[in-house]
């Protein structure tokens, strides 16, 4: 069976216009030090003739300065480099009206964030947080962001490289894609429930099961893509759709993490979330006056 697991660079070529990817250049910014965040592949390409920023992981790269970073892991340099690529994208189109801002395509195949002592001493949480904030800022500024899961989309690394996108697409599990916090066997061990029981329960409740189909039910994946050839048109269609949602002013409800919340309720995967928020709102409305500025 075909797979793109571990082949982030190959995935770029399959997705963008032939020969259009320029690695290491985003707008006015160049990333010319090959030793800086080598696992983070950033650059500019054309997709159906439109300029896009591409951010991917190179699973073959090894960061010699930070030995926990290999196999597509996002370490400190990688997280900040990805954030820089997003800020360079924002800067490149700062003068353009919102509807014409270039899209950002995230090609997702990453097993995690750098788990090391040096990383904790210097604050790995900041690197991944910086990248997420940059993506959220770009999304709110009008840049359509599409994440395409081609391999592993795991836990904290997926949170930074994927879950801040407007829309998330995933190849189906036949292509060995993995989306999870932890494999179900590890979940089973930690929460002390049999794997068999969890697998049985997962048929009705997708919240702890691993895989793109379960994420689809939760609204975490907008669409499953069933062929490698299908990725390119699916991404282009999403970009067009996001642009439309943004120009209608509906992007908040229809795209991004909140859009996935709405989709999760619609698909029956996360139905309690909106009820909780409605209840909080109603309760605050009843006491709101107490917290208004007092008239003197």
């Amino acid at each position: 069976m075909e797979t793109l697991l571990g082949q982030g660079r190959a995935a770029i070529d399959l997705i963008v216009d032939a020969g259009s990817f320029t690695e290491g250049t985003v707008g006015a910014r160049t990333f010319d030090d090959p030793d800086f965040g080598p696992g983070a592949v950033v650059g500019t390409a054309q997709l159906d003739g439109e300029t896009v920023t591409v951010i991917a992981s190179d699973a073959e790269a090894f960061n010699e300065k930070f030995p926990v970073v290999y196999s597509g892991i996002i370490g400190m340099e990688e997280g900040y480099k990805m954030a820089q690529a997003v800020y360079a994208t924002l800067a490149a189109d700062a003068e353009k009206e919102a509807a014409r801002k270039r899209a950002i395509v995230l090609i997702v195949d990453t097993p995690g964030n750098g788990p090391g002592k040096v990383e904790e001493l210097f604050g790995m949480n900041k690197a991944t947080g910086a990248y997420q904030l940059a993506l959220a800022e770009a999304r709110l500024a009008g840049h359509p962001i599409v994440a395409m899961v081609v391999g592993r989309a795991i836990s904290g690394a997926f949170l930074c490289h994927g879950l801040q996108a407007d829309r998330i697409l995933s190849l189906t599990s036949e292509f060995q894609t993995m989306i999870h916090v932890m494999p179900i066997t590890s979940v089973s061990r930690i929460i002390k429930k049999d794997v068999e029981l969890l697998e049985e329960l997962a048929k009705a409740n997708p919240v702890f099961a691993a895989g793109p189909a379960f994420f689809y039910k939760l609204g975490g994946v907008e669409r499953l893509v069933e062929s490698i050839d299908g990725m390119r048109p699916a991404i282009a269609a999403q970009i067009a759709d996001i642009r439309k949602a943004k120009s209608d002013g509906a992007a908040t409800a229809l795209t991004g993490p909140r859009g996935r919340g709405a989709l999760g309720a619609e698909r029956g995967g996360r139905t309690v979330r909106p009820k909780v928020q409605e209840l909080l709102r109603a309760e605050f409305a009843a006491v709101e006056d107490r917290f208004r500025p007092r008239a003197n």
């Binding site: 001493l121 997420q132 801040q164 930690i190 929460i191 919240v207 975490g220 309690v272």
Partner: protein, 318 residues
């Protein structure tokens, strides 16, 4: 209801989430939203036959400090490690959203409304991050909280308070990093990958999780203060956290940008100077970084009283 005055002298570390929520704001001002009587339990824990809590392990509400409405989110580590699932995540996002919406309404009515009357969000973290019993929903909730924090930028200050037993790890580690200001006690811990997980993944040579002093030196309040990751290092009492929060309540939202660690290209450049230093210094212990920052006796500094530490410590300049 706990006795508010008595609460003030309590150890922040020992306090429950509800005591922290009540004690951080003015006496008698806290109104819990989505409280235990609403029975917002996790349906996923029910499906697994697990015990539930009627607030899903997170206290949310609104109170007041002086004239400022303070929206409070307080995580309870005693319930499944303060883990975040669908309900807890929805409560967090709901509270931040309401603070933003309330701010927008108040400012629309009175554009000159002084900072001290505008909403602020305080998050008392005590969490290991995603709840594994509902991991996928927890992951999606984390992304929503990050999105809400970015929406709050330049409107509603968000202050992180970290000094509870579990610390603040996993996905919530970067949520905390993304807030405007971080207040810690020396017992607070902040990070991404917890010590046990590093030991398990990388081996005991990389990180000995049973070495408590090492764990605190790596992710504890004193170290995070040296690194600039904690803006303020306070005593371990509710009153001390509250006093720091009250000081911050006097500030306009623009003042908080200067306290941020991440959230702009300039701050990314600054953090990258730290990363370059990490590559150069190859520290095996926080002490190496403290020394580099100009502290000649890191051992004495780490072991001495907090008041001496605050007075004499040199923080890392990037």
């Amino acid at each position: 209801m706990p006795n508010w005055s008595r609460l003030q002298t309590n150890s922040f570390l020992e306090c429950s989430a509800r005591d922290r929520a009540v004690g951080l704001v003015d006496e008698g001002s806290f109104v819990e939203l989505g409280g235990p009587f609403d029975r917002l339990v996790s349906p996923h824990l029910v499906a697994l036959g697990e015990a539930v809590e009627n607030d899903d392990g997170i206290v949310t509400g609104v109170g007041r400090i002086g004239t400022r409405p303070v929206f409070v989110i307080s995580q309870e580590g005693r319930f499944i490690g303060g883990s975040v699932g669908e309900v807890g995540g929805a409560k967090m996002v709901g509270i931040i959203d309401m603070a933003i919406e309330f701010n927008d309404r108040l400012v629309a009515e009175n554009p000159d409304l002084p900072a001290a009357a505008r909403p602020l969000v305080a998050i008392s973290f005590e969490t290991g991050g995603v709840r594994l019993h509902e991991a996928n929903a927890g992951l999606l909730a984390h992304a929503e909280v990050m999105d809400a924090l970015q929406r709050a930028r330049h409107k509603v200050p968000v202050v992180a308070l970290i000094g509870s037993r579990i610390g603040c790890f996993g996905g919530m580690g970067f949520v905390a990093a993304a807030t405007d200001a971080i207040v810690m006690s020396e017992f607070g811990r902040l990070g991404l990958t917890g010590p046990e997980v590093i030991e398990q993944e990388m081996g005991k040579d990389e990180f000995d999780a049973s070495n408590r002093a090492l764990v605190y030196r790596t992710t504890g309040g004193r170290h995070k203060y040296v690194m600039g990751d904690a803006n303020f290092l306070v005593d371990d009492t509710v009153a001390a956290f509250r006093a720091q929060l009250a000081d911050l309540c006097a500030l306009p939202v623009a003042s908080f940008e200067a306290m941020r660690r991440i959230g702009s290209p300039e701050l990314v450049e600054k953090q990258l100077r730290g990363v370059a230093l990490a590559a150069e210094l190859k520290p095996t212990d926080a002490r190496d970084i403290w020394r580099h920052a100009g502290n000649n006796d890191p051992v004495g500094l780490a072991d001495g009283p907090l008041s001496d530490f605050r007075k004499s410590v040199r923080r890392l300049a990037l």
